[in-house]
C-alpha cells in the first residue's frame, strides 16, 4: 500500500451549502502532508469524513486501505487524531484523558514514551481538564496522539493555541515521527510550519483542490523575485514573463516566471552583474496568489 489517504471528487453538502465540491487529496504513506486552505474551505469537513463522523455525498475516500464510514472503528485503532477545537471532559485530569484515549484506541500508550512527551510539552497531568487553557488542552490531545503507535496522525490545526516554544517542540516531534515512518496529515494555517515540515502540500479553496504537489513543484506555479545591481543600464524590452518591474538606473527589482528566468539572466549578465539575489516564492506568496485571484465566498465551517 503506497497511499495512506486517497480521496477523489469528494462532495458533501449541508442543506443548500456545498461544503465540499469535488475535492482530491492523496497522502502517501510515510510523508508529512500539509493540508492548507482559508477558513471555511472544507478542511475540517474533509477530516470528519475521513474519521467516519460525517457521511460523504459523493466521490470516493479511502483511509489506510479501508472505507472510513464502514470500517470506522477498525481504522481508528491505527490512527491518532487531534481535533481543531479540543474539548475535554471537564472533571477528568489531563493524565487520565491521555491514558483513556490510548486505551480506547486499543493500544495503551507506552508509559515511558508518554512520560517523556509530558515532560517535553511541560504539561501538568494532575490538573482537571476544566482548568486547562486552550493550549494545554491541545497538548493533552497531542500527547495522546503522539504517544500512540498509530500509523497515521491526523492533526487539525494542532498548534493554533501553542506558544512559540511549544510550537518548536511540536515541530521536533513531527520530525521524529516522520523519521519513524509515520504518516502525518497536517491541516494548518501556519505556512511557516507547513513549509518547515511538509513533504507535500494540498491547497484547497471553496471545497475543491486548488493545487497539490511538493513545494518545489508548487513554486513553479508562481514568480521568482529578482533584486539586482548592474554594471550599467539594461533594456528589458522584448522579454516575456516579467512582472512588477522597477528599474531605477542600475538597480532592478522584478518578478519573473520560472520559464523566463534564463532569458532574463542572459540579458543581465550581458550588461554585467554587481550583486544579484534571486528568491523563490514563499508558501505565503503562493497562498496569497491562489486566494486573491478569486475572492472566496464565506462558507459555514462544520
Amino acid at each position: 500500500m503506497t497511499n495512506a489517504i486517497e480521496v477523489h471528487a469528494l462532495a458533501k453538502s449541508f442543506g443548500r451549502t456545498k461544503a465540499l465540491d469535488g475535492l482530491d487529496l492523496t497522502v502517501r504513506t510515510g510523508e508529512v502532508h500539509a493540508f492548507l486552505g482559508p477558513n471555511g474551505a472544507g478542511k475540517t469537513t474533509t477530516i470528519r469524513i475521513l474519521l467516519g463522523l460525517l457521511r460523504k455525498d459523493g466521490g470516493t475516500a479511502s483511509l489506510l486501505g479501508g472505507d472510513p464510514w464502514r470500517d470506522a472503528a477498525a481504522l481508528h485503532a491505527r490512527l491518532g487524531y487531534v481535533p481543531g477545537d479540543v474539548t475535554l471532559w471537564p472533571n477528568l485530569t489531563g493524565g487520565e484523558i491521555i491514558d483513556l484515549l490510548g486505551r480506547l484506541r486499543g493500544h495503551p500508550p507506552d508509559a515511558q514514551r508518554k512520560q517523556a512527551l509530558i515532560e517535553r510539552f511541560a504539561l501538568d497531568p494532575a490538573k482537571k481538564a476544566r482548568a486547562y487553557s486552550k493550549g494545554n488542552r491541545q497538548k493533552v490531545a497531542l500527547i495522546a496522539a503522539l504517544a500512540s503507535d498509530a500509523e497515521l496522525l491526523i492533526l487539525d490545526e494542532p498548534t493554533s493555541g501553542l506558544d512559540p516554544l511549544m510550537e518548536a517542540v511540536f515541530r521536533d516531534c513531527v520530525g521524529d515521527e516522520r523519521r519513524r515512518g509515520r504518516t502525518v496529515l497536517l491541516s494548518s494555517h501556519i505556512l511557516a510550519e507547513a513549509e518547515a515540515l511538509a513533504d507535500r502540500v494540498t491547497i484547497i479553496r471553496d471545497g475543491r483542490t486548488a493545487e497539490t504537489g511538493t513545494l518545489t513543484e508548487l513554486r513553479h506555479l508562481t514568480h521568482i523575485t529578482i533584486d539586482a545591481e548592474l554594471a550599467g543600464p539594461v533594456s528589458l524590452a522584448g522579454l516575456a514573463g516579467l512582472h512588477s518591474v522597477e528599474l531605477d538606473g542600475p538597480r532592478l527589482h522584478c518578478e519573473v516566471d520560472p520559464a523566463a528566468l534564463n532569458d532574463l539572466l542572459r540579458r543581465l549578465t550581458a550588461v554585467g552583474v554587481v550583486t544579484l539575489t534571486s528568491r523563490p516564492p514563499t508558501l505565503e506568496e503562493l497562498f496569497l496568489r491562489l486566494y486573491s485571484s478569486e475572492r472566496p465566498t464565506a462558507r459555514a465551517t462544520r
Binding site: L92, T93, G95, R103, A126
Partner: protein
Amino acid sequence: MNGFAGTAVITRLALRRDRIMLPAWVYLITAGLASTAYTFRKLYPTAAARAAFAVTGGGNPALRFLYGRLYGSSTGALTVWRYGIWAALFGALMTIFIVIRHTRADEEAGRQELMGSAVVGRQAALSAGLLAAATANLALIVLLCLALPLTGLPAAGSVALALAIAASGLAFTGIAGVAAQLASGARGARGLAFGVLGAAFVLRAIGDSAGPGGPAWLSWASPLGWVELTRPFGGPRWWVLALSLGLAAAGALVAYALAARRDYGAGLLPDRPGPATASRWLRGPATLAWRLQRGALAGWAGGVACVFAVSGAAAKGIGSLLGSSAQLRDEFTRLGGETAITSAYLAALMLLAGLAAAGYATSVLVGLRAAETGGLAEPLLATAAGRLRWGLSQLAVAGAGAAVLLATAGLAAGLGYGLRTGAAGPQAARLLGAALAQLPAALLPPAVAMALVGVWPGGAVAGAWTALGAVAVIDLFGQALGLSHWLLDVSPFTHTPRLPGGPVSAAPLLWLSLAAVALGVFGLAALRRRDLG
C-alpha cells in the same frame, strides 16, 4: 466601574434569546391552570357535587401529599388544590432554567468572558439572569389575571393566585441566583437549585398530608407551601406573599454578595488536583460514561433516599386522619379503609419515584446529544470505540441509574414506614418490589429520548423533555382533567400495576420493557447511520 453597567443591554439579549422558550413556559403554566378550572366547572357544576368531591378528595392524604391542602369547595379552591402548587413548581423550574442559562451556563461556555470585556459590570450578567426570570414571572401574573376570570373564577381570587405563583417564582429566582454562585458549573448549579425545589415540594407534601399531631407546620417552611397557604379562593391571606418576596430579596442580596467575591469561572470550592494517570478500570466508553455520571447519580440517590425515607415515615397515621365526621368515615370505608388509603399513598409515592428515575435517565441520554454538539464525542469516536459502544454505554448507565434510583426510593420509603410501624424488613422488601415494578415504565421516556437522538438530533433535547413532561402531566392531572382514555393510555405509568396494594400482573411490565428495548435499539441503529456534529 459600576458593577451594573451594561445590565440593560444584556437583559435585552437574554430576553431575545428566550423569545420562544419563555412565552412557551408562561403559556403552558397558564393553560394548565385555566383548563383545570374549566374542567372542574364542567365536572362539578353544583355546590353539592363540589362539596362531596371536596370531602373525598381534600381529605385523602395521598392526594394531599401530591397536590396540597384544600381550603373551601368553590371551583377556585378546587383548582388551586389540584394544580396551584404544581403550577408554582413549573414556574420555579422555568425560573431556575432561565437564571442558570444566563449566568453559569454562559460563563462556562465562555460567552460571558467576551461580554465582560466590553463595558459590562461584574454584576451585570447576574442581574440580567434575575431580571429575565422576573420578567417571565410578571408575564405570568398578567396572563393569569386575564385567563382565570375568563374561566369564571372570581377576580380577586384569580389575582391572589397569580401573585402567589409569581411570588414563589421570584423566591426561586433568588435561590437560583445563589446556586449559580455556589456551584462550580452550570450543571452543578442547576442540580443545587433543583435540590432546593425538591426539598420545598417534599416539606409541604409531608406537612400537607400529616395526620393529627403530625408535622403540619412543615408546609410553612416551603415556598411552594406558601402558594396554597395564601388561600387565594378561601379568604386570601395577602401577607403570606411577603414571605416569598422576602426570600426573593434575601436570595438576590446573597447572590450579589457572593458574585462580588467569586472569581470568574470558579465556584466557592477550589479544584483539587486529581490523579496523573487513569486507574486501571477506566478503559472504555462504558467505564467512561460511568465515571462521568457517578457523581450526579450519587447526588440524585442521596436526594431520593432523604425524600422517600421521610415521605415513607409520614405514611404512618395517614389513615387516622379522618376520625372527625361520620360522613368522612363512611366515605373512607368505601374507599377501602385505612389499609387501602395507606397503600394508595405509598403507590402515589412510587409513581413519583418512577417519574424521578425517568427524569434522571432522560438527562443521561440527552447527554449524548450534548456531547456531540459540545465536541466531546469527536475525540471519543476518533478512537476504536464505535458509535454503537458509545450509545450502548450511555444507555446502560441510564438504565442502571434508573434502577438504582428506584431501588433507593423503595428501600428508603419501606424503611421509613417500616421503622415507624415496627416491621422494617418486610416493608422494605414490599416497597422495593413496588418501586422496581415502575422500572419498565420509567425506562420508556428515556428510550424515546434515545430514539430522538438517533433520528432527530436537532430537536432531540427539547423533544425528550417534552415527552417526559407530557407523561408527568398525564399521570398527575390526566384523570382530574377528564382526559380521554386513549390519551391516558399514552403514559407508560397508566399500565403499571398500582403497587403496593393493587393486583400484580406481569404482562404489561413485559410489553413495556419490550417497547423500551425496541425504541432504544431503533435509536442506536439510527445513530449509526447519520452525520455527527
